[in-house]
Every structure is written in structure tokens, then in C-alpha cells.
Symmetry: C2
Subunit: 323 residues, 2 copies
Amino acid sequence: MSDPFSSTASTLDDIRRAHERIRPHVHRTPIFTSRTLNERFGAELFFKCENLQRAGSFKIRGAANAVFSLSPEEARRGVVTHSSGNHAQAVALAARLRGIRAIVVMPENAPAVKVAAVRAYGGEIVFCFPTLASREETAQRVVEETGATLIHSYNDERVIQGQGTVALELLEDVPDLDLLLVPVGGGGLISGMALASKALRPSVTVIGCEPEQADDAFRSLREGRIIPVEHPNTIADGLRTSLGEKTFAVIRSLVDQIVLVSEEAIVQAMRFLFERLKLVVEPSGAVPLAALLEEQVDVRGRRVGLVLSGGNVDLEKLPFRTG
Amino acid sequence: MSDPFSSTASTLDDIRRAHERIRPHVHRTPIFTSRTLNERFGAELFFKCENLQRAGSFKIRGAANAVFSLSPEEARRGVVTHSSGNHAQAVALAARLRGIRAIVVMPENAPAVKVAAVRAYGGEIVFCFPTLASREETAQRVVEETGATLIHSYNDERVIQGQGTVALELLEDVPDLDLLLVPVGGGGLISGMALASKALRPSVTVIGCEPEQADDAFRSLREGRIIPVEHPNTIADGLRTSLGEKTFAVIRSLVDQIVLVSEEAIVQAMRFLFERLKLVVEPSGAVPLAALLEEQVDVRGRRVGLVLSGGNVDLEKLPFRTG
């Protein structure tokens, strides 16, 4: 367990191979900057715009890496996942790009807009009860019945490696970063990014950003074991999941710190990104900027990468008062 | 009147010089594309993102060209304008960039958020009654009292030339455009863009896009004389103004057509830009896409540039239902 690069099978080379594999299928997302924010924080901030990624979030990277890693024989039997969020759309799109079947297990109370998004990418939906146990059992049954390959949304090497490509691109564009601020849900994004960035640039500090209302990574790191999240009550719907064994192993070894942010700061950060950067960012993607607004991280004089992880918001439920 | 290039003093060379002049002060804005829209319309669409421009709209181009054209003696006496919209912020920012005084005449009922934005850029505000006559008289009085140079928001050669730089950049990035779709308010943007694009690429078609509820350019072109807008009742607040003599002369000679769009289509276009391109675009900037949604223009098989002219929206008054 002491060597993070062996505790998972992932290395920088794997992540580079993942990048080659997915490059034809994903966007190389741009980096945005803001003079106003740089002046306010006395730092140089670089926002990696995964909200502009295909299917609206970084999730297509991991999903595409998993789908395009399958042997022809595996591919023929399709893929299955359980998710009601961005990973569901990402797997459906990745499967369509390879021309294979995707079955997505979703809770029967999933929002209609999420169900429609998966179907729009050609995904088949199997409904289950809205419990983690039912999701996992249903997915397992689909695996047994169809021979499809399960693609977990974060506790999967191929997915972690795919998400790690965000760091490859960011450090290619801004090589001398001092600090990376990354949202933490199940930990796939931060695990992949920590593996890539610590290998490429050992001096970089990697900080996970988590809502106070879903502080399981913070508590897991403190306790030294995975503490599942209970009743997460946060607007950042992408960050309500608990860590997995694979992601916890990497986070424990390579992530320097987890910081917590309030719900108010998340909304304030979203608002800033809308009003000043003119970018639609979902609540989860605004969490790193929220950490700066609440002065959870000292960035003065430093070059800081922040991941705007996704842009899938329900416009009819924006957290801004309307006149 | 028959030669548009002489009816205004503006030529392609003037616009190129404007570009050199403003380049250090404005963003070279990116171009976004959407596979979904390209498939839907059977065309290739290129969105020029002036919503990502400094101060949130293309207006900084014209304002900066005017401000940086001033002689040192003129600059010393400052600039004045009357506007309650994006031009007001643009003049305030341009003046600050040159280190000179900007006085902005605004109606006393201007929204507080607009007043605050001008002040944030260091502009001084002089309030007037909410009529065009009062705005013009007040601005004229400021000119007489201070010797400041008036920068009209569109009926000004330097402003038209500055706005024309949008077309220079767009045609540099996408040289083989067939069609340009441009919002029309006072006509500064479309005049400058028509002058530049027809000189660079005579085969390009330039179409102005206007709300049905503020159809003065459409009617002016039909009647062959400037018909002022009366009681414009459109969400596209940037397009409520009437044409000026200088802009009408260019539009009459160089613009191929004006098309009209409904309020519903404007909101639908804004929503698409938010949801799919993840871009915050103000209603005026969504008008060209609205023209496609309502099939006002046949774009099949063509390469089409659309200007997302600005991104300054009041988040508390978004036209989307909230849950």
C-alpha cells in the first residue's frame, strides 16, 4: 500500500496511452483565465474547461478509455454501467462512438432529463430501485445475462487513467503549475490527475475540494479508511458519491489535502463563472473556485490549475433568484 | 450615396489599422462549433464568441478604437458617451486602459447593475431623463463644459471600424465562409463587418438578424429611409436602438437581407447556447441562432459565421422557468 503507483496498476505511461486512445473522440478543452480573479487573489489561475467537453463533462475521458480498451470480442457484448449522472451519458456516447451496445442502470426516480440524455446518445436504460444495492445488483444481473463489461464510474483503472488525461493536457499547456484544485466525488478525477501530475511534476501540490455537506473524502483521509458518505445534502450532485478502494489508495498516497466548502460558496462561485467568465458550470465544477472564495487555500503568488469539471445544469433549477 | 465605401469614410485599410490599434487591449475571441447544430442544419456553423470579449461584448472594439485614435490633446480632455448598455461599460474600460477620463450619461432609471458596472471600470456617471432627447442634450452639455470627445455607440466611423475587426478575425480563422449572420441594433456591428467582409470576400452574403419586436432595420431597408424604432418590446435589450445615418448608408449598400425572429426563438436560442455550448449569451447575441431555429435563412450545405455579440445577462432575470 505504500507505493501508490503499484497500489493501483496505473502509471504515467498508462495515462499517456489512454490519451492516445481517446484523443480522436474527446475535445482538447481550452483553458480560461480571468484578470479580475488573478488580481483579487494575487495569483495566476488557469481554468481547465471540462464543462466544454463532449457530453458536458470530463467523464467521457474515462468512459472512452474503457470502451476503446475492450477487445473486439468484449466490445461485441457491449458495456453496462450504473449511474444517474454524467458518467451515464459518457458511457452511452463512448459506446456509440465505438458502435457497440450500452446498457445504463438508472434509479426509477432519476430525473427525466437525465434519462432523455442517455437515450439521446443511444443508451438502453434498465431501471432499478433507488438504492446503491439495487443499482449494483441490477448491473451485475445485466452482466450475467448479456456478457457486457461493467464500467464503474470511478473505481476502475481504465476510468482513472482516462480522467488523468485532464492533467496531461493542463500541464502541457501550463507546465509550471504550483497547485491543482480538483473536485472530489468518487475520486476518479483526482486520482488520475494526481497520478499524472505527481509523476510529471513532483513539486505540484494536489488539493481535493469537497462540499461540507458531502465530506466523506475529508473524513476518510483523516481516519485512514473509507468512510461512506451518508445523506449528502449538497447542490453539487456530482460529488455525492463515496470513494472506492482504488481511488482511496491513490488519494491517500498522493493527494496533499482535502478542503471543504459551504453551499453558499458553491453558488457564489457558479455565479462568478456565469457572470464574468460567461461559462455555464455545474455546481460540482464550481467547487474549486468556491475553495478560493472561502480562503481555504493560500494561492498568493502561485500558479494554480482549477478543473471546471462539468457544465450539465438544469436551467430550470438554477440557484439564482429570478425577478 | 451609391458607393458605400465612400458614403462612409471607412475602408478595409481603416479597419485593419483599427485592428492593429486595439489588438493589445481586446481579446482575440475563440470560435465555437457544435456537432449537434451542424447535423441539425446540414451546415457548418462557426460561432464567434464576443460574449467572451473584455467587458462582455464586442463593444470594446469600437470604443477602444475611438479612444486610442484620440490625439494626446484630445485624450487629456476625456471622452463622453450616452448609453445604458454594453457601450457604456466599453467606453469606461477603454478610457481606463488609456488612463483618461470617461463620462457616461445614463438615464436616471438605468438598472443599478449597469450603473455599478460602469463605475467598476472607473467611469463617471451623469444622470439624465429617460428620453433620447435628454440623453443627447446632456451629453452635448458635457462636451461643451469639459471639451471631452463624444463617442456615439454606433453612428461613428471609428466605432464602426472597430466593430469591423470582428469580421477580420472571423475570416482569418475561417476564410471560406459563405454567409454571415449578425445581430442588428444601431447597426455599428453589421456595418463594420459588412465593410470588412465584402472587401475581403465579395462572395460572402451578409444577413442582419433583428427581433420582430424591434424591426426598424427591416422596415428602413424596405422603405429606403431610416424608420426609427417605436416602443421596442423585445428581450434583446441591445437591439432596441434605431439605425444612424452612417450605419444605414452601409447597410443599404452592403447588407443582403434583414430577417426577423420571434421572442420565443430568441429564448430558445439562448437556452440552446447555455445547455449545449455551455456559453452565457445575452438575448441580443442569440438572435442569429434564433433566425436558424425559425428557418429564416437557408444554410444547408453552407459555411456560416454567427456572432454571439455579448454575454451580459442579469442572472436574476433569466428567461427560463425555475423549479
